[in-house]
Symmetry: C2
Subunit: 154 residues, 2 copies
Amino acid sequence: MTQEMIDKAGYEAALQAARAGAAEGGVPIGSSLAGAEGVIAAGHNRRVQQGDPTAHAEIDALRAAGRRSSYRDLTLYTTLAPCALCSGAIVLFKIPRVVLGEDRTFGGEIAWLRERGVQVEVLQDERAQALMERFISEHPEIWNEDIAEEPAGS
Amino acid sequence: MTQEMIDKAGYEAALQAARAGAAEGGVPIGSSLAGAEGVIAAGHNRRVQQGDPTAHAEIDALRAAGRRSSYRDLTLYTTLAPCALCSGAIVLFKIPRVVLGEDRTFGGEIAWLRERGVQVEVLQDERAQALMERFISEHPEIWNEDIAEEPAGS
């Protein structure tokens, strides 16, 4: 597979996972890991489904991939700019490259990832953005909880 | 409870969790969350036990605490300096204060936590250090895997 084919398969797996999360009533963010062997794992945010605040999409995908001694040949795909938790996982596991859907609904830690030497590519995918815009509009309190934003005046 | 009493209860809960992890044959790192109401959750590294690379002690404790809208009245206790993954969780969830056992066997991301405004206190607890020294000496390959360090020449 060319890198372009891997990227297409990896990102579409992340988007499919985000849609699965949306269908379950959860935060619609998906993620996957892929390399020369194709997509090796995918996951999506399960805060609502499992009551687990650490079950962000990227963490769920890393869990699904299981124990590994190295991530240096993999790219992490995600539909949204990674937050500090997921960026921390990327830095810890030395994942060299991240391809993400959009950074318009949430800016995440892209600058910090780049500071730490991670290659970050932003697709600005309107499908991913539309999923997030709808969820934030319908469930602002769950989204604020997911990124630990407290409503003004609280 | 005074803050000193909370700190003692919180840190001892983290140390007890680390020892439980050691008894299970896992990476001996423990963590807890505590506030004015006392210890609200504890956890330990379960990479070996659950085959989950994201199950660091702090993540396990945050999972055990469940969904919360705020962490601003809590301190996170951990027996070892938090890695990038766990520091990312602390930054994301705006946990204002971290009390940790030791930073001699692993330096973690203390400088970055402080840059992000987190108050970090280091106890240099020899009990925690001895647990880690023994594990690193007996299972260097599992420890390297846990922090994504590849052996030289690999």
